[in-house]
Amino acid sequence: MYKDYLTVSNIVGPLLIVEKIEKVKYAELVEIETGDGQRRRGRVLDVSTERAIVQVFEGTAGLDVVKTRVRFLGRSERLGVSEDIIGRILDGSGRPKDGGPEIIAEKWLDINGSPINPCARDYPSEFIQTGFSAIDGMNPLVRGQKLPIFSGSGLPHARIAAQIARQAKVLGKAEKFAVVFGAMGITFEEANFFIEDFRRTGALERAVLFLNLANEPPIERISTPRLALTCAEYLAFDLDMHVLVILMDMTFYAEALREISAARKEIPGRRGYPGYLYTDLATMYERAGRIKGKKGSITLIPILTMPEDDKTHPIADLTGYITEGQIILSRELHRRGIYPPIDVLPSLSRLKDKGIGQEKTREDHADVLNQLFACYARGKEARELALILGEAALSDLDRLYLKFADLFENNFVRQGEFEDRSVEKTLDLGWKLLRLLPRRELKRIRPEFLDKYYQA
């Protein structure tokens, strides 16, 4: 049925050049057989009348130009799904990794998906309580949002993500809920941490895991997040589930993309990453969201480790340009023993406005949030000033702000790994801190809320 080609002319990095081809299509899936009968898979990146450039997912190690057989499959990469996929652990290409049986597909889905028509989108507006004050109070997450965690190596992003997966709930609702976890290039230990956590809390039964670990083929990482998102779309829009997708670590994903780009000798963009990294990431991140008339939703938390903690590094930068905000972890807070070390000022939730307030969280939420931001920013400025000139040089008011900043970090941001704070409690904590300051300083809060909550 398929024609086998023995016409590989060049092997460059993860790429094969196949000559004298016929009827090959752009982006189609390719099967590659090594001289000793091993099977690998790949994808057409460029095709002309003479030759095709094929990216090999498992890498080209061990391939040669003489015995390698190439077969073009005439379709793009697909994931077979059915309800049985829930509770399974799969590898980075979607094959069972838990010793269980193959999934009998009810349907096959193209893992690249299609763009959601902007007219079909429903604006996300349901508040998700994560139990973290630094998130719920300051940068609230809503259902259908894509909110990444910008972390650095050695920071506790995995613990935070697991805690979110454990605690996330929509107030007053009990609905069908699932977690999809896509791992790209993380260590066995990190992956195992999630699996054990999911197992302990019973979440594993409602989870689907796609694991490509650090010792597994880097090029496979191009597929892994797409498989996870395809699975999430099926769960959310076919099975009406609310799906939380965690993708970790997007940095390793982007590095795999860079490797392919370099092998193709493309003109590199910033720091060697291809110019199309933005578009490439967007076609994944934008798969999160809600669709009008559909019950389910996809909430996406990509995690990335910023090289040198640099938020202007292309991976973090382009992610921030696409996602609906970001949660940024701070090495300084971590060093000072504050968990979660969330740096709230540069963190942001762009979708908070329609998710908070009366009947969603509490009437005063938006004002309190704005005020806490303003006060903490001023407190941090005072802290810097005190570092230069000494605390004595501060005005009385600035000393109050400094104290505010300290307490904010120690009492509001800091909390236990198993402490699940309600949003009420978070807001009350916020007011407790604001009472340190004279009322006239609280300009971001409406007088009626000051009357109601400031005295208390």
Partner: protein, 590 residues
Amino acid sequence: MRQGQIIRVSGPLVIAANCFGAKMYDMARVGHLGLIGEIIELKGDLAYIQVYEDTTGLGPDEPVLLTDQPLSVELGPGLLGTIYDGIQRPLDLILAKEGNFVTRGIEVPALDREKLWKFEPLISSGAEVKSGDILGIVKETPLILHKIMVPFPIEGQVSEIKEGEFKITETIAIILTKSGPVPITLAQTWPIRKQRPVSRRLMPDELLITGQRVLDTLFPLAKGGTACVPGPFGSGKTVVQHQLAKWSDAQIIVFVACGERGNEVADLLLSFPELKDPLTGRPLMERTVIIANTSNMPVAAREASIYTGMTIAEYFRDMGYSVALMADSTSRWAEALREISGRMEEMPGEEGYPAYLASRIAEFYERAGKVICLGSDKRIGALSVIGAVSPPGGDLSDPVVQATLKVVKVFWALDDRLANMRHFPAINWLLSYSLYAENLKPYYQSKVAEDYPDLRQEALQLLEEEAELLEIARLVGIESLSLRERLILETARSLREDFLHQNAFHLEDTYSSMRKQYLMLRNILHFHHLGLRALEAGIELEAILSLRVKEKIALMKYEPEEANLLDLYLNIDREFKELGASQPKEVVHV
């Protein structure tokens, strides 16, 4: 139609052979699916085609149909209230036809072919007409009269003109030109890359009122002018653009969502039909056209989308309207240009952008302007253009930012330090500028208040002094500052927090009329002037800052009543008098 064959597919770029005779920027239908593409380079019989849809599954030997038509938009009744993709396909029709996800090779007409529009002729047969003359009108929405113009370059004698209800494809008039009779329909087409002609350009001298205090008062944009909003992610580019789309006093808004978030488009689509135009009380959607090519939609169509938007905007300007076009973000357009250029293996310039980046940007902004339109009635139209720029890492040395700053006249510099402390709009008052401020002085004086330009100048000066004083305080401590200097710091803080800070999501604060802006600014500076006098009279700074009016000043932004703002002015007088310090009548602005 002629036909070529694909010989290569590389992402959005397709190369086809046997295309002798094809013209640059002609449209082509690519492959068995008939994907829409545009010829962007010709080498011998080879045509390089950028394809506006996903090319997955396309391969060599598939046919390429050469249409011989440039990529064009359809202009006529039915544009308003519509949301299009980058090449003017109505996304709501695609949704109805194909479901929640955008598929490929879909053909939907840009304007409704079946709808009947009531056409009222304004001239009678026998009249001599030139290009741009208005033949008649269609009431497109309760807000907007759609003027049916003689398409360029037609001129001659009207031999027949009809009245009644017509589909956009039906003939409503016939014009006898030198080369014979030409039937005129309600709709016309225009190639997107070609600027629409005007009679003459004018200097922009009228304020585009946006209701955003930092813009209208400090860094104003004139109708027909150009502005750019560069800034890192999260600094407020999109909110500024949305605020302008909602509140600016342009008559027509064209919003180009270019390569950004789907949910931001959903936000526009959900809020615009609900929001009311402040002048007419009608839903904002009735004056708006949205072009949406979000980041997950095909990259090449992003490149076309800003031209699609621009051509539609020019068309409404040609009717004599004041039009504002927002492009969020022009960086995504530039990146699309870069991606295609890279695949064509062109020589890269800075950051991999093609060498022609700067000239393309300049050409784009040059399509803005205040003009005398074509047509005998010499009507005046204006097209203001506001582009967001998203430089990597917020770095303003980015080639797109730099090329943009060379051509635009207003620079709203977003500052992520301000955004981090939630000072919004996070427009840095020390870096931003408007080259229209001087031109607009007479406008401010006649339309707002005689002393408004002076107040503005004083506010800017106080903010600059603040920056210097803070630097001194940082080095040697606040004690080293005189009382006068400390009052300046307090006033500057009040300017920042009570005037410049403006919450887009607060019902009252989201929009301030020019009158309100003036009264707010006047009160803050009035307090300052009286404060200076009080200090001179030996009154304690603490006593001045504890006046009750200070708290009222902080609440001005939430105050809907003009009378209360006027009252506050008198209250400021009164409280200072009670302090025993001032003779308000003698106070002059310094």
